[in-house]
């Protein structure tokens, strides 16, 4: 927990700059920086992600805010959030307000970004895999979530909340 402020700011600014394609892609990078450098334990990070997805707002932002809070308290939460949105906000501001650009030529760059995003998702998934052979209920829940999301149009939120409810009841019943 002896992470310096500058290290944290730099890490989240970097993560923000690479945050293409929505929340789950960058959870993997946050995991690599935060657990990889020993700022949080694997178990602490799991709690952070669990909370981030059941609280309102973008998952990636919530994760950053929570990690900042864990490391440096309320001010850490403000600084981590500001760091992670700095690059996206600056770029958006330039494109949306200053340049009024449309990036319509985006075809090829967008395709390349999607390829990169697929890589990031694979990385996120890779980091999560050990979880599946550590706990068979988690593996079962994940398998169900995968089938439900790919086969139906159900809102993933219900799967998260349903699994959380089952977890709570199970823990009360079986300890």
């Amino acid at each position: 927990m002896s992470t310096g402020w500058l290290e944290m700011i730099f890490a989240f600014a970097k993560i923000g700059a690479a945050s293409f394609g929505g929340g789950w892609t960058i959870v993997g990078i946050i995991h690599a920086s935060v657990v990889g450098s020993g700022w949080l334990s694997q178990a602490e990070f799991a709690d952070v992600v669990a909370i981030a997805q059941v609280t309102p707002g973008p998952v990636a932002l919530n994760t950053a805010t929570l990690v900042g809070f864990r490391l440096h308290g309320p001010l850490g939460a403000v600084v981590a959030t500001a760091s992670v949105v700095a690059a996206p906000l600056a770029l958006s501001f330039i494109v949306a307000v200053a340049a009024h650009a449309k990036l319509r030529d985006g075809g090829k760059l967008n395709e390349a970004l999607k390829t990169g995003t697929i890589g990031l998702l694979a990385m996120t998934l890779w980091g999560l895999l050990p979880r599946l052979y550590e706990s068979w209920p988690a593996a079962l829940a994940s398998a169900f979530a995968f089938v439900a999301v790919t086969r139906t149009k159900i809102n993933p939120l219900w799967i998260i909340l349903g699994s959380a409810a089952i977890g709570a009841v199970g823990r009360l019943a079986f300890g």
Partner: protein, 214 residues
């Protein structure tokens, strides 16, 4: 402006709050920055589950209010896809900027950022006191248990939607392996992968223009 509806489990109910009684006018309206802030604040406060859930809610809300029509929304959404940052945040900023310039941009950003921030700080402050209660412990473990499945589903859907060529497959496989091996170097490696994938697109006629719709 009506107050936030507490039991707004249905998004329809939520997004119709504050809707003009005459219905959406065909002409684009110009809301004040405060109205922009308030709309995004409400959406961000009650929408759990990240960008893929939030963006459709945002779209429906701004169309109903008559702030933007569908094609402007898609055009704007396509632009945000090429930028880093949480989807919902970028979309809100772009809508704000479209409607009210810099003030609207700031209103959109703050509207998205503030509610989750407040919620998270409250949760984080009490968490270490409640995390060891069996009920809370089980809830968090349960919520985390489905994460690998959800990420795998997202990956599966992206792979299914993408139009593949040999070069794209090669770039994606190399990229995935490189990123998995990258550890703390994930960010620079990501940009290298994007550069590689862009090179792999070559100068041949792009097959993907106009495929940015959600």
């Amino acid at each position: 402006m009506k107050r936030f509806v507490k039991r707004a489990s249905s998004m329809d109910e939520l997004t119709s709050v504050g809707r003009d009684a005459r219905g959406a006018a065909p002409e684009a309206k110009r809301p004040s920055p405060a109205e922009i802030f308030w709309l995004f604040c409400r959406i961000s406060a009650v929408t759990i589950g990240g960008g893929y859930v939030m963006v459709p809610v945002i779209q429906r809300s701004v169309e109903r209010k008559g702030w933007l029509d569908e094609s402007s929304f898609y055009e704007l959404f396509a632009t945000t896809q090429g930028l880093p940052g949480p989807l919902a945040l970028n979309v809100a900023c772009f809508i704000g900027a479209r409607l009210r310039g810099p003030a609207g941009f700031a209103a959109g950003a703050l509207g998205i950022l503030l509610p989750p921030f407040a919620a998270i700080v409250v949760v984080a402050a009490v968490l270490h006191r409640i995390a060891d209660f069996p009920l809370a412990r089980g809830f968090l473990d349960g919520a985390y248990a489905v994460v690998p499945g959800l990420v795998a589903a997202l990956l599966f859907n992206m792979i299914k939607k993408k139009r593949w060529s040999k070069r794209r497959v090669a770039a994606a496989v190399i990229g995935a392996v490189a990123l998995i091996a990258s550890g703390a170097w994930a960010v620079p490696v990501f940009f290298a992968v994007v550069a590689l994938a862009r090179l792999a697109e070559g100068r041949a006629p792009g097959a993907s223009v106009g495929r940015s719709r959600p």
